[in-house]
């Protein structure tokens, strides 16, 4: 009982300091975010010092204390592929305790980049955007983890589909291990998630409309389609990764090439596209 309380008190102190910091530089959005987090932390602290008569809620409260970036990291590690905030939130809701709303992810990417540029490599991992294979710039609304190899973080033309299938396989394989321990609502969330994948993969869907879906069937069907696209997609990504290593500095390899505006006269910086 003592340990989580200590962790909480440290976290509360940290948050208060951060709010003061943010107030001095007048970052209103950040202040609002931190205040919300502080209130959550204080509520959890209250819940912990009073005798627990609703243990489930406490567990939830404590888990949501993980900073959003760590929650995202958990979900992305499970997915194993770059993903959009909505999918990340859905996976988090199905497999992990605590709340992660897509709106909390909005400011995350900017904060991560700022933190990296201030002190490169100070954190064990960063959440960064996926990179487009053609321009090596940040892909819209796709997050991944900096420790993944470049090949995994680059999005080629076939990659959205390949990543969708990768995620389907990962989720389908993780689902059975959870179903034993999960409570009713959690397993319903996993089922919903699986159903969404099953619908869009040929041969993965339920036998009859409205029938139950099976994780093994989904994984097998996803793997079958994955094999069709894998080789071409892998080549695209590998070639783009070679280019990225040659043309981009360390920060750009994580957060994407910054493109200067190329005006009509063509005097701007050349795009690092394929020759």
């Amino acid at each position: 009982m003592q340990e989580p309380l200590d962790a909480l008190e440290t976290r509360i102190a940290e948050l208060r300091r951060a709010i003061r910091g943010a107030l001095t530089v007048r970052e209103q959005d950040r202040v609002r975010e931190l205040r919300a987090e502080l209130r959550r932390a204080e509520r959890s602290w209250d819940a912990l010092v009073t005798p627990p008569d609703r243990p489930e809620e406490d567990r939830q409260g404590l888990a949501s204390l993980l900073p959003a970036r760590e929650q995202v990291h958990q979900a992305l590690t499970l997915l194993g592929a770059p993903a959009a905030p909505k999918l990340i939130a859905a996976v988090h809701a199905a497999f992990f305790a605590g709340q992660l709303t897509p709106s909390r992810l909005a400011s995350l990417r900017r904060d991560e980049e700022r933190s990296y540029r201030a002190a490169p490599g100070a954190r064990p991992y960063y959440l960064c955007p996926a990179l487009t294979s053609d321009l090596l710039s940040a892909a819209r609304a796709l997050l991944c983890v900096s420790t993944w190899p470049l090949e995994q973080r680059i999005i080629g033309p076939l990659s959205p589909r390949v990543d969708f299938l990768t995620a389907a396989i990962q989720i389908a394989e993780a689902a059975p291990s959870l179903s034993g321990a999960a409570t009713g609502s959690a397993s319903a969330a996993v089922d919903r998630l699986l159903r969404r994948f099953a619908m869009n993969i040929p041969g993965a869907g339920p036998a009859q409309p409205g029938g139950s879906v099976h994780a093994e069937t989904i994984a097998a069907a996803a793997r079958a389609e994955f094999d069709i696209h894998f080789a071409r997609d892998h080549d695209d990504r590998a070639q783009a990764a070679v280019r990225a290593r040659q043309q981009l500095d360390d920060a750009e390899q994580l957060f994407g090439a910054r493109l200067a505006a190329v005006d009509d006269t063509g005097t701007g910086r050349r795009l690092p596209g394929p020759a």
Binding site: A138, P157, P202, H229, G256, L259
Partner: protein, 379 residues
């Protein structure tokens, strides 16, 4: 700048010309006979601001409700999530798209640059490459940016998705959030979607023919993606829009000949709102209203749905007692008459019909007699 452009600019006045969207281009075809509308659109005048300034703020119809926009946005995001997973399923099911064809190109920004010009250039490069080398082409192009010449101005258009590799043709995919229930959809919504899609098709065809490629590479069958029945699940339907493409092409050609209409206007006529540096309009209301009245309009009740200025034109038509206020059916039935008062006078026999009005006058008197009997019978 040509003399026509200069004349149109002076007609619009000191404000920036409005740019066209697929919606406003589709609306061009709603009332092709209206000179007032044709001139306003060609000049890029802000019809909503003009209508508000002359005292007829437009309430609904021509602009989209924020709720509809949000709903549409959510449904579109759902259909396009995970590399267009829903879309890929629909195209495979309904159109026999091959399994390996899943390539997805996001054209909503080019390396973080979201300006229309840059996106247009990139779209053009990708789509032309696809047309020339179909074997290396992608399959789904998300939010490509197209360009269309409308009445001397360039309009940028953004279809939801352009799909390639289905029978070797480009297909415009239009994602709409109105439901198709048991195979039936709201007729007007479908008509509007078809007309918008026609604008994209015309823009695509023009892009290809400008590079001496065949316009037949663009399919005139639009793929309409909508929610199915009462579920959020998407379904796809084909719509043949050959007719809409022809209508739009004719209307665009007519706008290109806008000079003929301009010649008939008195010189010095302008719809200038004369905004001061703070953006307040300083043009005298009465003066602006009379300037608008100089240009003939052809009001019909349908205008309320497609034109921001409709309130003003309706008021004008009512004041003149014009038959068009009662809708196109009544107007067509009473073809040779021009005002409500004439029709009433003929019906009650106050006015003697001329030779060409004899038939219609007989019909009107007959209807009046039935109406009188009924009114008498209820007492």
């Amino acid at each position: 700048m040509t003399a026509t452009d200069a004349r149109l600019d002076s007609l619009r006045g000191s404000t920036e010309p409005l740019s066209f969207t697929a919606r406003t281009i589709a609306a061009l075809t709603a009332n092709p006979g209206c000179v007032r509308r044709a001139l306003m659109d060609a000049a890029g005048a802000d019809k909503a601001a003009l209508a508000t300034h002359v005292g007829f703020p437009q309430r609904s119809g021509a602009s989209q409700s924020p709720f509809a926009l949000t709903r549409g946005g959510i449904f579109e995001a759902q259909v396009k999530a995970s590399g267009g997973a829903d879309l890929v399923r629909l195209l495979r099911d309904k159109l026999g798209l091959d399994l390996p064809e899943v390539s997805y190109s996001d054209l909503e920004s080019v390396g973080g640059n979201t300006t229309k010009k840059v996106r247009y250039r990139r779209t053009r490069a990708l789509l032309l490459r696809a047309a020339r080398h179909p074997d290396q082409a992608g399959t789904l192009y998300d939010h490509p940016m197209l360009r269309l010449q409308v009445g001397g101005h360039l309009a940028y258009l953004e279809p939801d998705v352009v799909a390639f590799q289905i029978q070797g043709k480009f297909h415009v995919v239009e994602v709409k959030s109105f439901a198709v229930i048991d195979g039936q959809a709201d007729e007007e919504s479908v008509a509007a979607a078809a007309m918008q899609a026609a604008a994209y098709i015309v823009a695509l065809q023009d892009m290809l023919t400008a590079e001496s490629l065949s316009a037949s590479a663009v399919s005139t069958d639009v793929i309409l993606v909508t929610p199915e029945n009462f579920s959020p699940q998407a379904t796809a339907t084909f719509i043949d829009v050959r007719k809409q493409v022809a209508i739009l092409r004719r209307q665009l050609a007519r706008m290109a000949r806008i000079g003929v209409l301009l010649d008939e206007l008195p010189s010095g006529l302008t719809f200038d709102l004369a905004p001061d540096p703070d953006g307040n309009y300083t043009r005298a209301r009465g003066e602006l209203a009379s300037a608008l009245e100089v240009v003939p309009a052809r009001y019909q009740p349908r205008c309320l749905k497609t034109c921001e200025l409709a309130g003003f034109c309706r008021d004008e038509a009512r004041a003149a007692g014009a038959l068009t206020v009662l809708g196109s059916v009544v107007r067509d039935d009473l073809g040779s008459l021009d005002s409500i008062s004439t029709a009433l006078a003929l019906a009650s026999g106050i006015r003697q019909p001329s030779a060409d009005q004899a038939d219609i006058a007989r019909a009107l008197r007959y209807v009046k007699s039935i109406s009188d009997t009924l009114a008498g019978g209820t007492v």
